[in-house]
Symmetry: C2
Amino acid sequence: MFKRLNKYIIFLGTTKKSTIKDIANVLGITPSAVSKALSNHPRISEKTKADVIQVAKNLNYQPNHLASALRKGKSNLVGLIIPKANSHFFSSVLQNIEEILNEKGYSVIISQSNESYKKECESIDALLFTQVDGIIASLANETLNFSYYEKIKAKGIPLILFDRGENDLQVDYVGIDDYQSSHMIVDHLVEQGCKRIAHIAGYRHTRIFKNRIIGYVDALEKHHLPIENDLLLEGSLTLEDGRQKMEALLKLPNRPDAVYAASDFAALGALQVLKENKIRMPEDIALVGFGNEPFTSFVSPSISTINQYSEEIGRLAAEAFLYRIKNPKKKVSLNKMILNAELIVRESSNKNGY
Amino acid sequence: MFKRLNKYIIFLGTTKKSTIKDIANVLGITPSAVSKALSNHPRISEKTKADVIQVAKNLNYQPNHLASALRKGKSNLVGLIIPKANSHFFSSVLQNIEEILNEKGYSVIISQSNESYKKECESIDALLFTQVDGIIASLANETLNFSYYEKIKAKGIPLILFDRGENDLQVDYVGIDDYQSSHMIVDHLVEQGCKRIAHIAGYRHTRIFKNRIIGYVDALEKHHLPIENDLLLEGSLTLEDGRQKMEALLKLPNRPDAVYAASDFAALGALQVLKENKIRMPEDIALVGFGNEPFTSFVSPSISTINQYSEEIGRLAAEAFLYRIKNPKKKVSLNKMILNAELIVRESSNKNGY
DNA sequence: TGTTTTTGTTCAAACGATTGAACAAATGGT
DNA sequence: ACCATTTGTTCAATCGTTTGAACAAAAACA
């Protein structure tokens, strides 16, 4: 009894964290009884449970997650790999993933690839090392080789891709229908009377950008519009890239009357160049972007764009992970979740007023 | 020998992860020798080290971080609590913190408070539970009570605050000089000939916003300008809040000739209202924001603002953490790191052309 | 050759929580 | 009153790695 009290007092006085062993000592029972009491084991009496909870509170007991994770073989950590946190799309996805997974007791470890393949591989290694229970990722632009992702699959933990995915990797995927989105944009521009529609595109090796390009080409064909190489420019889709591509387009002997940029940042670059050249939007050239970054709504003219439902994508990715964790055996099913995107028509492409 | 080979083959065939024990079995040595070989212990022979590394590679050995973290009492995880990931400032800070800490072998667990006190407390609990080695945080707007943060200090792990900090908590802090920034803004506006300068402010209970308010008031006094209650409006500083405050200012019998908004989002709201009312910037009303969000440079007119050096803040916060980890005993020193901010003058407040 | 030092490795106890099996005591059925 | 069941708890092994102490063998020194 004296020993118990003594221990108790010591622990009140110090900062040292208490363990189930300390609780056990105070109550004169074993650590395993404490562990079972805390996890509400049916064989533990209500009285003991109450006592344990009380003492745990007194000792300011905090379970050691590492110990339990080690024993259970489950860390309750999820890795999230994104190209860049400071884009509205990715940070919004991050926000939703974090929210949903937190509710289910998971913590999210964030890792940015900065669009670099090397950094992406390092991120994967670091996450696997940290024993994450799964990884949710969007590929870097640079990434062409997926063997590193096979490594994740080999570990037997769930891998969910979103936005920048890849068909070859047989894993769950959440994204929008890029092919269909291009059709919506071209249809809209044709409806506005445009006849020469340019596309500031992303690099074709990234699946989503390839699909946007194919959608663009197919949609032009559908409308019996000519497909000109000069009007299809692949690039990194940054603001600066958008500026350069727009300048190139303006130098053409036969200017386009519409520009569809595969990212809002590129669209913004194009918009700046158009304004600098006093070219009116949408009268002279109509402009459409992609992604619904917040700034598209408040620049002047506001930019028409595609809403990617980033919140929805984050939610679905998180739920896909949770589903995989719950059903570890099920091999197939689920997989691709393709959302229908929404075209938001704004000033930059609306010739009819409203 | 047979047993060894057998084990070896089994492990090549299955996905099951290998441990130091497996390596030990293959080589016929003990796990502790393997552990020491891997950590380059001086007492282990070069030959053994080479063998261990070779076998580790063959078996595709990945150390179990959980086990080593448990044993060492160090998780190499750092918690980052931010109000919202989808603001350029915070995601940029995040980016830099992640980059620097990754280099040093730390992973970053992200947690968003969504400006909610309750969520912030939950985040802290979750992070402490995960046994993070330290926490870097920026307080939610709602947070007035810091007892939860005391909990972190009580655990004995480093706590670093940035941007939204608090003097009462005796911890390291990284941020800009808000008081001084207000002075720079007011000085600039006065120089532009403005005489009635309004301030769309944040809530006074948050230290940074309070300092901006005091700086604003002191600067007005310095220039012998009247301080009018109608011109100082506290709010949440969202875009919508900025709109409302600007509308209120326009309804005044005696309109201001300059508006200083304590956030770029509020400044943007104000800008929209001014444009809708065909009020010219900077001729009729000059406008200055705060934070250098990217959009400030490409809206029209571009918005003058304060550059908070988000990358620098992230870097310093990460380094402060690393310093504390390296020097656990040192009680005082270091603490407040206050950066001098930079005023970026753009169209919205520049009457002189350029 | 005998003693000390160095070198390379093993031993064993951690780190803190979990869990099935074992066991004693209390309860129930007949 | 005897056996079966239920209840509450302890036992002991385990998760994978780390680390100081211990120990034997080899090397160095006298």
